[in-house]
């Protein structure tokens, strides 16, 4: 018995060391876009001069997002999108970005830990967090410390409320709901709408509330409102049947694509014919493995990511080459964040010697300046108000023959 115990201990030890050994090399190879181009690109600046004002400036950007856990797909997408942008930016010469991404498991406590870790590292600008819950906790910290924060995808209003240093690249949740209601009523897509939303999710609840408010004023009738919690996302027959019985023509789905795919499948199995309208969480449904994309035919998606532009095509190509997967709007948001920061840093003449508080005030002045606008994959002419919310045109697409068609 004792021998067995010892053997188990030794085996576990060996496993651990094996992993550590493997880890050090693979960790390097998974992260080349973040560290390698940065270090290479600073070399010409040190040795020589290519002209320009921002030469030799390496700005430390701290990134926070879920890299492990059930929300890792979103955090990894925003990180990889940003890394692709940084690779391009660093290749331009001039201002160099160095991104240090830390994991928060989509959890406020871990988010604050990650934030403190990045402060120890010497972060000058904060890029994140990916998820709203963690971002709300971190935004209070960055506000107290005066660190400039730009989030790619934390769309809750609590993130920016009362925090003049926090800016969003995505639409806020209530805004998405309002835009969706406006579009449905303007294009007369339906008059009787059912809503299925995730009531344990801040994002989903926020959109629903914005949608409900706007729908009342537009004469849209919400005939059925059903919810589901985070941990039961497989069976939606009760919700679908309720929508059908109350005569809904359209189901509004302010949820993520995985549960939405189950709703589409189960409604088609029951033979119910609805039209569907989803928000940016639905973006990615066409890339879902094992999902019959014909079921998503004619579905409307409110997404900021216009995949048809030339810039988007080049981004998609690079993203595929780097990761082997299709980018979704999270990746595009991350990509745009880096360019927004790049433009702002150029305009504010940020240098690597500046402390985070100094950088913060300079960047706030640039971002809230009415003359500052950024063109990106998720919208052109993006501008920010003093409340940190972005102003850009929403884009609504319809899925036709398995591809997005702009509306």
């Amino acid at each position: 018995m004792k021998k067995k115990n010892l053997a188990a201990l030794l085996l576990a030890g060996a496993m651990c060391f094996g992993l550590l050994a493997g880890c050090s090399s693979s960790a390097d190879s998974t992260n080349p876009p973040a560290s390698d181009p940065g270090s290479q690109a600073t070399q010409p600046a040190e040795t020589g001069d290519v002209g320009g004002t921002g030469e030799g400036v390496t700005i430390k950007i701290g990134g926070i997002g879920p890299l492990t856990g059930p929300n890792a797909q979103y955090g990894i997408a925003t990180r990889q999108g940003a890394e692709i942008a940084i690779e391009e930016i660093n290749a331009l010469g001039g201002i160099q970005f160095e991104l240090n991404s830390q994991d928060d498991e989509a959890n406020g406590e871990k988010g604050v830990n990650a934030y403190n870790n990045l402060m120890d590292w010497g972060m000058q600008i904060l890029y994140g967090c990916t998820t709203s819950g963690s971002c709300a906790a971190v935004a209070a910290e960055s506000y107290n410390d005066r660190v400039f924060q730009l989030t790619p995808s934390a769309s809750s209003t609590t993130v920016t409320d009362g925090h003049d240093n926090v800016f969003q690249l995505c639409f806020t949740d209530p805004n998405q709901g309002k835009t969706a209601a406006n579009f449905i009523s303007e294009h007369k897509l339906a008059t009787k709408v059912a809503v299925i939303y995730n009531n344990s999710d801040d994002y989903s609840t926020g959109i629903y509330q914005g949608f409900k408010e706007a729908a009342e004023g537009l004469g849209l009738e919400i005939v059925s409102t059903t919810t589901f919690p985070e941990d039961t996302t497989t069976d939606f027959s009760a919700q679908i049947t309720d929508a059908y019985n109350k005569g809904a023509e359209m189901i509004f789905l302010p949820i993520y694509y995985t549960p939405a795919s189950n709703i589409l499948i189960q409604a088609s199995q029951k033979g119910y014919e609805f039209s569907y309208f989803g928000c940016d969480g639905l973006d990615g449904i066409l890339t879902l493995e094992g999902f019959d994309t014909s079921l998503a035919e004619n579905v409307y998606v409110l997404t900021p990511f216009d995949t048809t532009s030339d810039a988007a095509k080049s981004f998609i190509e690079k993203y595929k080459a780097a990761t082997g997967t299709e980018p979704n709007q999270f990746a595009a948001d991350g990509y745009d964040c880096m360019y927004a920061l790049y433009e702002a840093c150029k305009k504010a003449n940020i240098t690597d010697g500046m402390g985070y508080a100094e950088v913060c005030e300079a960047l706030i002045a640039v971002f809230t300046d009415s003359g500052f606008s950024v063109d990106g994959l998720t919208g052109s002419g993006m501008q920010w108000g003093t409340n940190g919310e972005v102003a850009k045109d929403p884009l609504i697409v319809q899925i036709v023959n398995g591809a997005y068609v702009n509306q």
Binding site: M15, C23, G108, D120, G133, E141, S200
Partner: protein, 350 residues
């Protein structure tokens, strides 16, 4: 010296446990004073205190009372949310943040104790696996309920609503906002408050365990039928341990909730309960100083391993397995016994 030798083993352990906590506090304060702690370590001090109290209180249920509870985070969430409501609504009336924190912790403890009674009375008639399932369900139910609660405060007092975010306030401050959890809470938790809470929890638990009631609780754990036959009211003593643990978890929750400007209810799901259970099992059932060390160690560990990047959680799990194996290895125990003669006696005893 002879006095120390004549002391009971339990008294010695209690003194050691208090000394451990106080020494750790003094060392950390000294390091803080000299600015030798990184921000990332400083940021973890309060959560570590919360998790220590969580582990201590769960140890009372699992180790001392012998019931498997899988919903301990539920009590923590009750404490966190009621503590936040108390602290925010008293902001205008009670100026001192320390006093407000104390009131919030008392409020959190009281409401968590009420929740403990509500769950405990029916659940403690069950045993073993059944109790585990009921407490697991409680943990889920409380998270789902909290996701629907909206609360705010204005000049006219507190406003509550269920499912509907409209609170009909005039210039009010929202406190709880459905799935977002607590919103825009002012941080008032401090490391010293956490230290005091750990000391109070230790005091309550060690005194309870070494009292007449504590012996009754352990008698029920060791042999329920024998305990009943000598006239011990089984449900009463099980409930006593359960509710005490719930109240302490509530106080820890209030401290935790007031350390972040926003805490979502999902934070308190079953993963959190299991995490606290891991602290208890790793530290040793019924072993209070073990729980303290395990909670502190396992809270720091994932942060200390940020260097591993994507492999962090995998390494964390492996380290956990290693520690479990190492602490239960007879050879290692014997080796430790040989190195530290004092421990040999302790190892022989149990």
């Amino acid at each position: 010296m002879s006095k120390l030798k004549n002391m009971k083993q339990t008294t010695k352990t209690s003194i050691f446990t208090y000394a451990l906590v106080i020494a750790a506090y003094l060392v950390i304060q000294a390091l803080l004073g000299r600015g030798m702690l990184s921000r990332s370590t400083q940021g973890q001090l309060v959560p570590i205190c919360c998790y220590i109290v969580m582990a201590l209180s769960l140890n009372l249920v699992v180790g001392v009372s012998g019931e498997l509870s899988l919903g301990h985070a539920g009590f923590m969430s009750v404490g966190a949310f009621s503590g936040a409501v108390a602290a925010v609504s008293l902001e205008g009336m009670v100026g001192s943040p320390a006093l407000r924190l104390a009131i919030a912790m008392v409020a959190g403890a009281a409401l968590a104790a009420v929740a403990g009674v509500i769950v405990g009375v029916p659940a403690l008639r069950l045993q073993g696996d059944y109790l585990a399932i009921v407490t697991l369900a409680f943990g889920q139910i409380i998270v789902n309920i909290l996701q629907c609660v909206y609360a705010g405060v204005d000049g006219g007092g507190l406003h509550f609503n269920f499912l509907d975010p409209e609170l009909h306030m005039t210039n009010g401050t929202p406190i709880i906002s459905g799935p977002k959890g607590t919103v825009s809470v002012t941080k008032i938790s401090s490391f010293t408050a956490g230290f005091v809470l750990v000391l109070i929890s230790l005091f309550v638990i060690l005194n309870l365990v070494n009292s007449r009631s504590g012996r009754a609780i352990m008698a029920v754990r060791d042999n329920r039928i024998a305990a009943e036959s000598v006239g011990i009211n089984v449900t009463k003593y099980r409930l006593m341990a359960f509710v005490t643990a719930a109240a302490l978890a509530g106080a820890a929750g209030a401290l935790y909730g007031l350390n972040y400007s926003s805490v979502a209810p999902v934070k308190f799901d079953y993963n959190q309960s299991i995490l606290v259970l891991v602290f208890v099992v790793l530290g040793g059932l019924g072993n209070m100083w073990g729980s303290i060390i395990a909670a502190a160690f396992l809270t720091i560990l994932p942060e200390a391993m940020r260097g591993f990047e994507d492999y962090r959680m995998l390494v964390y799990a492996i380290v956990l397995i290693l520690v479990m194996l190492a602490t239960n290895n007879d050879n290692l125990k014997a080796l430790l016994g040989r190195l530290i003669p004092r421990r040999k006696g302790a190892a022989d005893n149990g």
